[in-house]
């Protein structure tokens, strides 16, 4: 049985990754799971300089999921390369670094510095950050802005780039096509859906930022639908995510067209989720005599 999956020419031992921002740089969860068993660790978003993030409360529970507005707190690329990359290098897993920025220049600066680090296999570009030059609407919500940043990043990137799409759009297929046409090597989706929670007793927002990104099992059907639509819109591989809690969930994304999957919020609920998903996919392949994972990608009928 072969659980390998290939994305942009890179071979991953299995299709199970970690969703950016839910797994730090692996350090915290290395106490719970053997990182060597993961297809890749996708790091928390890193910017050109340290970001302090948003005021608290930053997280709130919602029905079947959570809202977060961390604000991409991160130590900046320099500390990250001195501390987090060396930590991850100890493990036999691929490293994908998630990159965020407020301007195209921010992204490019980070991408260039990471170019000098061969241990980093791919770069995931978070285009859901507010584009400060465009009235803070996210890069990922307008096809032209997405196309522009994809081209600029691709120009400077030494590693293949994954554009992480925002689900807060009318037509995910259009966004997927824009990214592919601009040179993206792969896509990952979905990022969080914008949500809101109000404490009716205090009559205040549950999150200081008012809105937060919704994740967790509650959003899975929307994520599966978007992965299916994106997979039918482009040729480049897709990393699917959004509420994956079990191997069954992961397989649903793969059948919809994902070449790999990421476990996100459920790491918080069950820190062993990633390895359980790896084992469960193997069990499913064995049960249904699937020789290689590739045979499952996009294999939904009808």
């Amino acid at each position: 049985m072969n659980t390998q999956t290939i994305i942009a020419g890179i071979t991953f031992k299995n299709p199970v990754m970690t969703a950016s921002g839910t797994f730090g740089s692996g350090m915290e969860y290395s106490e719970f799971v053997d990182l060597n068993q993961l297809g890749a660790v996708v790091t928390k978003g890193v910017a050109n300089v340290p970001w302090p993030g948003n005021p608290t409360p930053r997280v709130a529970e919602v029905y079947g999921g959570m809202l977060n507005a961390i604000g991409l707190q991160n130590p900046g690329i320099d500390v990250f390369m001195e501390r987090d990359i060396p930590f991850l290098k100890q493990y036999n897993t691929k490293i994908i670094v998630n990159v965020c920025g407020k301007t195209v220049e921010d992204y490019v600066e980070v991408v260039e510095k990471l170019g000098d680090e061969p241990a980093v296999s791919m770069l995931e570009i978070n285009v859901s950050c507010p584009n400060v030059k465009e009235g803070a609407i996210a890069f990922g919500q307008k096809a032209d802005a997405l196309s522009h940043i994809t081209k600029e990043v691709k120009k400077h990137a030494k590693q293949p780039i994954i554009m992480k799409l925002s689900p807060n759009v009318t037509d995910i297929g259009e966004m997927a096509k824009a990214a592919e046409a601009a040179g993206a090597d792969a896509l990952s989706l979905i990022n969080t859906l914008t949500g809101m929670k109000i404490d009716i007793h205090r009559r205040k927002f549950a999150i200081a930022n008012k809105t937060g990104g919704m994740s967790g099992p509650a959003i899975k059907p929307i994520a599966v639908r978007m992965v299916y639509q994106a997979a039918h819109a482009v040729q480049i591989p897709i990393i699917g995510m959004g509420g994956i809690a079990t191997a069954e969930d992961a397989i649903e994304f793969i059948l919809a067209g994902a070449s790999a999957v990421s476990v996100g919020a459920m790491n918080f609920v069950n820190p062993y989720t990633t390895v359980e998903v790896v084992k469960g996919i193997e069990a499913y392949m064995e049960q249904y005599h699937v020789e290689k994972l590739a045979d499952l990608i996009g294999a939904v009928e009808g």
């Binding site: 106490e31 302090p52 409360p57 997280v59 079947g64 959570m66 918080f268 609920v269 062993y272």
Partner: protein, 265 residues
């Protein structure tokens, strides 16, 4: 630091000890390394409520095979926990956080100040302090809403207990700070857990008295292990994780020396 683990443990006993305040003993191997001031993440079983409820450790059984938690029913998750009975399973992760620095009290006169549902962690702390300072040095000052108090009979075994109630029905009328004034109490060191206004008052008091105050902070948490960066507090010094003066309450905390954190700003 101790190895963290998520496990399915067993409820040994549970009872309501005050209105909406529940007292539960849990049989768990996590008790072996539990420190005063550390907390557990408790996970509801209903799949609509996924995030853990951080609950401080109230007491560790002598044989280190069981932990006691005392919590208030505040929402659906804690409501679910309150229905657990002996022999039911309970999903927990622990032990989490740094805990109170017990050694700092060696031979000193201390205040243990607890407000409302911030009182429980003071019990295991008071027990532990008896190993490093005299019982009469351990002044436990606890504040309740009214005469429906809890954990008093446990606390008196490990220190001098002073009570404040908001309605004045028992002890000093007002809060824990009023007790200090009214009785003219003194200490070389403070440990505290409770609502933010109380912690802010304690921070000011400690600064004026020029004594250290170790306060336990609360914040909404998602992961409980330092990965999500949800539960941060602004710090005076640069934090070691993100270098942005934001410490993670679940990991660098929940206990901080009051001077280190910017609260009630």
């Amino acid at each position: 630091m101790t190895m963290k683990q998520k496990q399915t443990a067993t409820v040994i006993f549970q009872q309501e000890i005050a209105p909406a305040i529940y007292d539960m003993w849990i049989g768990t191997s996590l008790a072996q390394n539990a420190l005063p001031g550390q907390f557990l993440c408790v996970y509801p079983k209903d799949r609509s409520t996924l995030l853990p409820r951080p609950i401080s450790i109230c007491e560790v059984r002598e044989d280190k095979a069981a932990l006691r938690i005392v919590y208030r029913v505040a929402g659906q998750g804690t409501k679910e926990f309150s229905h657990y009975q002996a022999e039911d399973t309970i999903d927990i992760m622990g032990t989490l956080g740094n805990g109170f620095p017990v050694e700092a009290a060696a031979g000193k006169k201390v205040f243990l100040m607890g407000g409302g549902i911030g009182i429980p962690p003071m019990l295991q702390l008071a027990k532990a302090l008896n190993a490093v300072t005299d019982r009469e040095n351990i002044q436990v000052i606890v504040g309740y809403r009214d005469s429906l108090t809890f954990l008093q009979e446990d606390l008196v075994r490990y220190g001098q207990v002073y009570i404040a109630t908001e309605d004045g029905s028992t002890g000093t009328k007002g809060n824990v700070m009023n007790v200090i004034e009214e009785r003219g109490l003194k200490a070389d060191l403070i440990y505290a857990c409770g609502p933010m206004p109380m912690l802010c008052a304690i921070k000011r008091y400690a600064a004026q008295a020029n004594i250290p105050a170790y306060i336990s902070l609360e914040e909404h948490m998602a992961c409980g292990v330092g990965a999500c960066l949800g539960c941060v507090v602004k710090t005076r010094d640069m934090d070691h994780h993100s270098h942005v003066h934001n410490a993670r309450i679940c990991t660098e905390g929940p206990v901080f020396e009051a001077g280190e954190v910017e609260i009630g700003g």
